[in-house]
């Protein structure tokens, strides 16, 4: 058990250590209000990272998530304000568009055999370009109260999006860990050919993963728009790097075949704890970025070396 989850163990230790040290630096750090608030702030990245775990575990990568988020945000404004659709319908339409964007990634990767890194590098530019082109630099504001609650309100004492996040976390964890689809993802990541020759639905699964990645990005866009109550075409810029950092820090192998939702959750928590805790301890933002870079490399170094020793 431990041998298979060395990385998660290392990571859990680092996270605990970070929490311990940081709580000594600031009284507010471990307060309930702060922790809940951190949950609110990390929701968008976390939602996308959960799905990215599937993408990377299947041996792929999706760099276009930030751009899909930007495009979705812009389209929400266009559908609602421009076309005059009722807001719930506009939200639904945006989720569909996000899914279609993801599906398009999937199609060029699966059916045209493009390497995922390059395919999504292309769509990263394409979707962002569409967002900029469609928005023509206009923002849409004045969202109704009920919509803003999605990003700013509470429900049963927890921020609304934290509920969504918890549900997504449980769902992703269950699917990757306990279902046929999760097993299929791992098999594809470890050896796509062998998975195909075992009669597993390789193409359909990959298409679905990229489509869900697009869906998650669109959902994150809805929550983000609700949180900041405006739409901008530059929303989600650089999101892909934050997401990949969390997933890789969480122990998902960039070559596929390995990774857990638990690891990704720990990775997300560690990054958030560092950002928040260091800020509360009076470290400036740029110092925090450096430290996250160091932690990323150091954690992977430790777990690679530990594993290598365990194997020797």
């Amino acid at each position: 058990m431990l041998r298979r989850h060395t990385h998660e163990a290392v990571l859990a230790l680092v996270t605990l250590l970070a929490i311990l040290v940081l709580s000594l630096q600031s009284d507010q750090f471990l307060s309930v209000a702060n922790l809940l608030n951190q949950g609110r702030l990390m929701t968008e990245v976390a939602l996308v990272a959960l799905v990215m775990t599937f993408v990377i575990a299947s041996g792929g990568i999706d760099l276009s998530v930030g751009s899909i988020m930007g495009l979705s945000a812009i389209l929400l404004g266009t559908f609602w304000d421009g076309f005059g659709l009722p807001l719930p319908l506009a939200m639904l339409a945006v989720l569909v568009v996000g899914t279609v964007c993801g599906l398009f990634n999937g199609i060029i990767i699966v059916h045209f055999g493009m390497p995922p890194l390059i395919a999504t590098l292309g769509t990263l530019a394409l979707y962002r370009g569409l967002a900029e082109g469609i928005s023509q630099a206009r923002s849409v504001r004045g969202w109704p109260e009920w919509f803003a609650r999605l990003g700013q309100g509470d429900w049963l004492g927890l921020p609304v999006q934290v509920w969504i996040l918890l549900a997504a976390l449980a769902l992703a964890g269950a699917i990757l860990g306990f279902t046929r689809w999760g097993r299929t993802v791992y098999a594809i990541g470890a050896s796509e050919t062998a998975a195909r020759f075992s009669g597993l639905p390789v193409d359909a699964t990959k298409l679905a993963i990229y489509a869900v990645s697009g869906f998650a990005s669109a959902l994150a866009a809805l929550i983000f728009v609700a949180r900041v109550s405006t739409t901008r075409s530059d929303m989600g810029t650089g999101l892909e790097l934050d997401v990949i950092t969390a997933v890789v820090l969480g122990g998902t192998s960039i070559f596929g075949g390995r990774g857990t939702i638990l690891g990704t959750a720990l990775g997300l928590i560690l990054v958030q704890v560092l950002e928040n805790g260091l800020s509360l301890a009076g470290v400036k933002g740029d110092g925090t970025i450096v430290l996250i870079g160091v932690v990323l490399i150091a954690t992977l170094l430790v777990s690679t070396l530990t594993e290598r020793r365990a194997r020797a």
């Binding site: 306990f178 279902t179 097993r183 062998a194 075992s198």
Partner: protein, 528 residues
């Protein structure tokens, strides 16, 4: 049992060719695992030395030590009588040792010429890579190997396995090797290509090259080798001269006991037709194939590499769906568009390339065995671990997989045990037809006979088996009926009684014009 023949006994006073490479008491351990213990052998100029042993006996480790890729923990390598250390492949090359590795170590995106000279480029007088000289010399080298049909400017990725092998040998020759090591060079070759290769090896021997030849194929060994060294479990068992030994003795040295029957064919009751194929077409290599396989019957599918035999299997299995033609299972027509549809129709396929297609090597035995029946162990999508483990244990026991348990990672298993896991996986789907593609390739003799025994048992239980094999003896010994494939069609059907090597061999080449075939068979010898 020590069959080591004393040095002096073999020495014929004036004819003894010099020892080019001497291996003296070589041991190698990886952590606590002792991979090689006290191995010794002599490679002499103008002589072929066969290295034999079951999988895991340490052959590849020895080859890697001689290639400079591993450093031995103890022992000496003598090059022309002087002790040398090979700290890197470069040292081995400098000492005149060249290796043709089992998994062809080539650069697919680079041209044939560059592959031959990779790492040892010819230089111009300015010290830069001499491209035109390189192309010229590459052509000359290939001509020496009787290989006139390769354009030295094509990418290696576009060549067939047989031609790639030729490129590897040309690379070894270019280094003016005095010692040439060939690690299972014919494992991936059809009979005919293997023959051509053996001719090349003999030619090199006549030029005075000392050759170490690693192979499982007894007939090849006895055809070319002057002496043989056998390893077992990393131990040096002994060295014998070819003329003093026979197959049975060699096998007993390898497995440590005597084996009476390598191919224990059991008779099974042959029932109604399970698979009926009518004018199947797909891609360039399946051109209107028709065949029938009955319950309890083992049908051998023979043909040259590139004849379309694997492609036929891939079409039946839905990897490359049929363009036209009909497939009936148990009399009912089925459309097979994917491996999943094939599985649902009752077709199972144990593929040719075990490491890539058969297994997910980083996953354990349980996960591999359940892979083809995942939907059955996950009603509603949720995996039932207990059910999965039960199924895996069943298959594990039934096939007699030798491993620490069902949680062992399959990449750590020997070839024979890996193959058993793949077969167990497909038997779990309760197939009506089992297609076995090269079921014993690269598997040691012990495991080979076990697989053959299993095939017999499965046939007895009423399974229809279609077996593809490049080893004619295997096809002839195991099949109730032999079908010969050439150019995508079934060109001959021979009942067991009539299936002689001559008849099958003749049918394999019958359709094509022999004159163009000599060159052309190479070009088409590709895997899709």
């Amino acid at each position: 049992m020590d069959i080591h023949i004393p040095e002096e006994a073999r020495q014929q006073p004036d004819a003894a060719p010099p020892v080019r490479l001497g291996v003296r008491g070589i041991s190698k351990s990886f952590g606590p695992v002792q991979a090689l213990r006290q191995v010794q052998l002599d490679l002499r100029a103008g002589s072929i030395h066969a290295l034999m042993g079951e999988n895991g006996a340490g052959k590849s480790t020895l080859v890697k030590i001689l290639a400079g890729m591993h450093a031995p923990t103890a022992g000496d390598l003598l090059v022309n009588g002087q002790a040398r250390r090979f700290a890197s492949p470069r040292d081995a090359t400098a000492a005149g040792v060249a290796v043709v590795h089992q998994e062809l170590l080539l650069f697919g995106e680079l041209t044939v010429a560059e592959n031959i000279f990779s790492g040892h480029y010819p230089r111009t007088r300015f010290g830069t890579v001499d491209w035109s000289g390189m192309r010229r010399r590459a052509r000359a080298l290939l001509a020496e190997l009787d290989c006139h049909d390769i354009d030295v400017d094509t990418k290696v990725a576009a060549l067939s396995v047989a031609l790639r092998q030729r490129v590897e040998i040309a690379r070894a020759l270019n280094q003016e090797a005095r010692v040439l090591i060939l690690d299972e060079p014919t494992a991936a070759l059809a009979e005919r290509d293997a023959d051509r290769l053996l001719d090349v090896v003999l030619q090199l021997r006549d030029r005075g090259v000392a050759i170490l030849y690693v192979s499982h194929r007894m007939n090849e060994i006895f055809r070319i080798a002057d002496e043989m060294t056998v390893l077992r479990d990393g131990q040096y068992v002994g060295t014998v001269e070819a003329r003093d030994t026979d197959e049975a003795r060699l096998v007993s040295m390898m497995v440590g006991r005597s084996i009476d029957q390598v191919f224990p064919k059991v008779e099974a009751k042959i029932g109604r037709p399970v698979l009926e194929v009518d004018h199947l077409c797909a891609g360039p290599l399946v051109q209107g194939a028709s065949l029938t396989v009955r319950a309890g019957e083992i049908v051998g599918l023979a043909g040259l590499v590139g004849s379309g035999r694997t492609e036929l299997a891939l079409t039946l299995f839905g990897i490359t769906p049929a363009r036209s033609g009909r497939i009936r299972i148990d009399g009912a027509e089925v459309r097979i568009t994917s491996p999943r549809a094939a599985r649902d129709a009752g077709i199972a396929y144990v593929p040719e390339d075990r490491g890539h297609q058969g297994l997910v090597k980083s996953m354990n035995i349980r996960e591999n065995i359940s892979m083809a029946v995942l939907d059955r162990v996950s009603p509603g999508g949720m995996l039932r671990r207990a059910e999965e483990a039960r199924i895996a244990r069943d298959g594990f026991d039934r096939l007699g997989v030798r491993a620490a348990g069902i949680e062992q990672v399959t990449g750590e298993l020997s070839g024979g045990n890996q193959q058993k896991v793949v077969i167990a996986k497909w038997l779990e789907t309760k197939p009506k037809l089992l297609i076995l593609d090269e079921p014993t390739r690269g598997i040691d003799v012990g495991a080979k006979s076990e697989i053959h025994r299993l095939m017999g048992e499965m046939a007895q239980q009423g399974l229809a088996i279609l077996m593809i094999s490049s080893e004619l003896p295997e096809v002839l010994a195991m099949s109730d009926r032999v079908l010969v494939v050439a150019e995508g069609r079934i060109t001959a059907e021979l009942p067991r009684a009539q299936a002689t090597p001559e008849a099958v061999g003749h049918a394999m080449t019958r359709r094509s014009d022999p004159g163009t075939r000599t060159g052309g068979s190479q070009q088409t010898g590709a895997r899709a």
